[in-house]
Subunit: 480 residues, 2 copies
């Protein structure tokens, strides 16, 4: 006897180096783990389940991995567009009014969006994670979290300017803030790492090469390595970062990070937006993993990060949704499509970034990037039962064509939006089914979101300094 | 007294040159037409409705216009990817097995997808429209249809080859087929134009400059103009077309069409994929309208059609979903996002193709392009009540921020997939609400689709000629 049999659908297991398709397959689950997977007849002949879940008409596949997001920024969803530079002329001046007490609610909203659209694992890089962690626990998804370590203290901005700092230049660093944020990270790790049978994992988040001194970066690395935890680092994310490391250490960000031993297998390198081909190859060669946030970086900067080259260099790529003021969603189906399509548009070659490769990045790639590829990301014996059902009886998944050519994977990547996700299971527990979250109250959350949005916009609108912002002007002219 | 009051939501009317936002607005509808639109208090003070529809929590906006699709091709959804050239190495050899008797079902599936995702008007270019028209009538959406006129008779392909024709070269033309397909078009027009209070309109569809002789093109134009009907023409869609017109008439497609008087206000120019900047400007200057199919052309060719330049040249642009073997969906939300994002990625400029401009193209732009801008495409007095509700209480639409900067339009364009469309109304009649089609039986259609898919794949699989196709090989290696 085992706990649960899932049968009746087609499987995309991601086992092997393709999509691991099994027509009319079945999965046996016991104590949250996959104990058998294969053709239905074969699995059903083995043993009896306590419970059966019918997947008829569905594609059953590994849950998606959102390997990099800033969950609480949903408070300002859509407030970083049609402006440039987005940080200075929209996001920054507006988001500094975000209300910290409401942050757990905004994180929950981000997770709800992800879960409804098939995400089972979130790589959440957000402050104050010691509070936000409760949202991850509540919704039931898998989480690999950090709170972030930084020595860049924006609260001192007025003082920097008084001292002669020019916006856009590398900023002074604040060791005290660095020590304090590292202490928070250590506290987070001590309290929550391994929580709930390992569903919650804590890693370390040094913000970026220009946000920390060399000494602090190395200290974070040391603390992380003591615990076997990975480093989640924004890497070569913008020109300012290269400028800062060049001024401080005489090297661009990637070679600087290499020179101090940061580029290694325990590094999760996010973005790589501002890199040379050689730098991309170097990061991959060192065994670091790349997270590509195609929609976010595409919308706010018009830039396509080098996921394709990273894959060609033999590296592991996962996808992230980043932050919703710029993205504007936490939906890995949208990231799959963006990665597949942007590469084609950029190169004018319809053969680059094929759907199967993109689907692997969104599942086993993301899991491997977050350091939990042995636990999740594919449907294989010994892994956690983190999986989703996608209803294939409706457009854009219908019709399902099996012979002589399948159409399932292209339709998942180029068309499916996540709206056909009808079941989301993490470690064998159903956390979302047929439009309903099983562990949280959606109606209550919606009302709280509406109330919190009002609090936030009232606070922002009370700041006369925002009136001249381009995004406010666009709104007033009816073009937003 | 009037028929229906819609109130409680925010409106995006598209009136004026922006998005025409009205906070807490209302719309009064009588006999299928909008008789008042404005702030809720103002509209409610005027007169009493027979029926009220509550739009609380929703964005109410004009229905989307899918200005160019080949609806019946859903039979082969997803069968034109990861291959190049897509037509010869996938679509062509597979789709020639499509079963004509099932075509109305496949059209219905395409329309169901569009309606559920907010489309109210379909510019359907498909054969045999004299049969397919019944699917348009059944679902209740607005349609501007044509069956297509062509002199290119693929049935003679073997004979061409025997006569020395080389694939890729311009093909012989078959005047008899041209006359026959024109007769079908005239028959379609006579039987269906103006059907159901004008909900069904018929225009003329000369296929492309390389599919018809000059004489036949001009004859179609003459017949269309006698009836005041527009011409729906694939224009400069590929290199083969330019090659054919150069061989036959010494000019590339666009200057050739201009030389014979085709570039005019009654021309709907689809694609313009293979054009110079001057050619794009010329088409716009002549007053012809452009339909951009960004996802289709992007996936199958890696090409971004010149919608941005066409708009800059003062032209009218609408969006189309084209055909689902290549796209793979009939979803104008996906087209909005593609148009906004691909332009940014291509130019590395996040300011091009802003959301408000894209939203206008998907509504009033598409309606104007199809020649019915006076009837639909915006929420204004005197227009048909063609509108949709988008639930904004859920991600990616939540939270709704109104002050000091709105986030509704960016979230609609950059994130919404169509899954939050909770009501679709055409000419005052609700054709879809809360996941249910009001005029057709979805469960029955799903079963018919599954059966028809089996018939189709059985027929394709019985053709040994398909075994060597790249798409079949990809499937067998687990990479599809």
């Amino acid at each position: 006897m085992y706990d649960t049999l899932i049968s009746g659908g087609h499987l995309l297991t991601m086992a092997g180096d393709g999509v691991g398709f099994i027509e009319n397959g079945a999965i046996a689950i016991d104590k949250g783990m996959i104990v058998a997977v294969g053709p239905r007849d074969e699995i059903e002949a083995k043993d009896e389940p306590r419970e059966r879940i019918d997947a008829t008409g569905c594609i059953v596949m590994p849950g998606l991995v959102d390997a990099h997001l800033h969950s609480a920024a949903t408070t300002g969803r859509g407030w970083a567009q049609e402006i440039s530079p987005w940080m200075a002329s929209g996001y920054g001046p507006l988001m500094r009014h975000a209300i910290e007490e409401d942050a757990p609610l905004w994180t929950l909203l981000a997770l709800m969006e992800g879960v409804a659209n098939g995400t089972t694992t979130f790589g959440d890089y957000e402050f104050p994670m010691n509070e936000l962690i409760h949202s991850h626990i509540a919704i039931g998804s898998r989480a690999v979290v950090c709170e972030g370590v930084t020595e860049l203290n924006w609260a001192n901005r007025e003082q920097w300017i008084a001292d002669g700092w020019v916006p856009g230049e590398p900023t002074p660093l604040d060791r005290e803030l660095g020590e304090q944020t590292l202490a928070n990270e250590l506290d987070l790790y001590a309290r929550w790492h391994g929580h709930d049978d390992g569903r919650i994992r804590v890693i370390f988040g040094p913000h970026a090469a220009d946000f920390l001194s060399k000494e602090m970066l190395l200290k974070v690395q040391e603390e992380a390595r003591k615990r076997g935890a990975a480093l989640h680092l924004h890497t070569a994310q913008d020109a300012r970062e290269n400028k800062a490391t060049e001024q401080r250490y005489g090297l661009r960000a990637v070679p600087y990070l290499d020179s101090i031993g940061l580029l290694a297998e325990d590094l999760i390198a996010v973005h790589l937006s501002v890199t040379t081909d050689d730098e991309v190859d170097l990061v991959a060669r060192r065994g670091a993993r790349m997270i590509c946030c195609a929609n976010s970086i595409g919308i706010i900067d018009g830039v396509l990060p080098p996921a394709r080259r990273f894959l060609e260099a033999g590296g592991v790529v996962g996808f992230g949704t980043d932050q919703s003021p710029g993205n504007n969603s936490h939906n890995i189906f949208a990231e799959m499509r963006a990665n597949a399509m942007f590469a084609k548009i950029k190169t004018e070659d319809p053969l680059v970034m094929p759907a199967w490769q993109v689907l692997r990045a969104a599942t086993i790639g993301g899991a491997t990037a977050l350091g939990i590829g042995d636990l999740t990301g594919s449907l294989e014996v010994g892994k956690a039962a983190d999986l989703i059902f996608v209803d294939a009886t409706r457009p854009p998944m219908a019709p399902v064509l099996l012979e002589p050519a399948r159409n399932i994977v292209p339709n998942l990547v180029y068309a499916e939006s996540g709206s056909n996700v009808v079941l989301n299971m993490v470690a064998g527990r159903i956390i979302y089914r047929d439009g309903t979250y099983t562990l949280i109250d959606e109606a209550e959350t919606k009302q709280q979101v509406a109330d919190a949005a009002k609090r936030f916009t009232d606070k922002v609108a009370a700041d006369p300094g925002v009136n001249e912002l381009p995004i406010v002007q666009l709104t007033r002219t009816g073009r937003h």
